[in-house]
């Protein structure tokens, strides 16, 4: 067999293996890459001080202060755009079932601090306004 033949066989084998990999794992290697990188970074965060304790006496106060604002700021930046889309008029912006359902769910979250109750009330409010009130 010539060198070219080897290359051909090798190529077919490689494609076969990759094809099987994709069949078993359901798809995109980009998604797997993202999962692994996020996972490694997250484990690094979890392990950081649990591993290092004893070498560093304490977390710098400034780092602690800054980290305190990460959860509210990031969660709000994620959530608000899912409830509100700025439209050309105030009424068009406000008359949105997502915003109404979000406001109702926000009130429930504040009163109960219960994830299950927040989801239930929010979804029912969304369906009520989408399928009944604004239908």
């Amino acid at each position: 067999m010539t060198g070219g033949g080897f290359a051909l066989v090798e190529g077919a084998l490689t494609r076969g293996v990759l094809g099987q990999w994709q069949d078993v794992f359901g798809g995109s290697s980009d998604v797997w890459a993202a999962i692994v990188v996020i996972g490694v970074a997250t484990y690094g965060f979890r392990l950081s001080f649990i591993y290092l304790f004893g070498r560093i006496d304490e977390v710098p106060q400034s780092v602690k202060r800054t980290l305190r604002y990460v959860p509210p700021a990031v969660l709000a930046a994620l959530v608000f755009p899912d409830f509100v889309t700025l439209e050309s008029s105030l009424i068009a912006t406000l008359a949105d079932e997502r915003l109404i359902a979000g406001a109702v769910a926000g009130a429930v979250a504040w009163r109960t601090e219960n994830v299950f109750a927040t989801i239930t009330v929010g979804m029912v409010a969304l369906w009520l306004f989408r399928f009944v009130v604004f239908a």
Binding site: V24, F25, G26, S28, D30, V31, W32, A34, I35, V36, V37, I38, A41, T42, Y43, F45, R46, L47, S48, F49, I50, Y51, L52, F53, V59, K64, R65, T66, L67, R68, Y69, V70, P71, P72, A73, V74, L75, A76, A77, L78, V79, F80, P81, D82, F83, V84, T85, L86, G102, A105, G106, E113, N114, V115, F116, T118, I119, G122, M123, L126
Partner: protein
């Protein structure tokens, strides 16, 4: 009964009421994975390798909207930065264990396991730190994985118009509200959210990062002013 088992069971017992919130959260993680175009193996891979709900949902949301992978990764990593704070706070309780054990304990660290354990460790000196924590944390892990699989299976059969993925921001909302517990954190949340809405048109989903960073800065400034 063996007192070690008591400590493990106490963790399992104390975490059980939280499952009411974890089960729908995990189902949503599975449903969102299907919506973002992931297969079962990828969905489970995400839940096992990352095991951090809010960041998983954010990553799936961004994957579904076709964001660049750097934005997906960057967003999820920023969301999980809070784990550094939990790690620092719980570390003194784990310092007595060998490094290998600590490396295992760290993998299971979540908002709920952290919050429960630190409260219990403060109240009881003779609880086994590792066993109580593992009782809570491993229970959360098992329910999270089962819930993800159930969500993938259920999610495939539900019509789009029902808008089940709306449950994703609802879960974030339920985590956001208790995170805004005083004036500076409330200022951080309200500003971060408002800026993100205004900046929603920016490319690469940069509105999220601009909103989050602005919120953090405003939180720090508000804290500085109220001193």
């Amino acid at each position: 009964m063996d007192p070690l088992h008591d400590d493990l069971l106490a963790g399992v017992r104390d975490v059980s009421p939280l499952m009411l919130g974890i089960v729908p959260f995990a189902l949503v993680a599975g449903i969102a994975a299907v919506d973002a175009g992931l297969g079962l193996a990828e969905a489970v891979g995400l839940s096992v390798i990352v095991f951090a709900g809010a960041s998983q949902l954010a990553a799936l949301d961004l994957i579904g909207s076709g964001a660049p992978l750097a934005v997906v990764v960057g967003t999820a990593v920023v969301i999980n930065l809070r784990m550094v704070m939990y790690s620092a706070s719980i570390a003194p309780h784990f310092a007595r264990y060998a490094r290998g054990v600590r490396a295992g304990l760290a993998y299971f660290l979540t908002d709920q396991a952290y919050a429960l354990s630190v409260a219990e460790f403060g109240a009881s000196d003779d609880r086994s730190r590792a066993l109580y924590y593992l009782g809570a944390a491993v229970s959360l892990w098992i329910v999270w994985q089962i819930g993800t699989v159930a969500g993938v299976v259920v999610g495939a059969g539900v019509p789009d118009a029902w808008g089940l993925t709306f449950a994703v921001p609802l879960v974030f909302l339920a985590l956001l509200v208790p995170a805004m517990k005083d004036r500076p954190t409330t200022a951080a949340g309200v500003t971060g959210g408002a800026v993100a809405v205004v900046a929603a048109g920016l490319p690469l989903n940069l509105g999220l990062l601009v909103g989050a960073v602005t919120g953090i800065v405003v939180g720090l400034l508000t804290e500085g002013r109220s001193r």
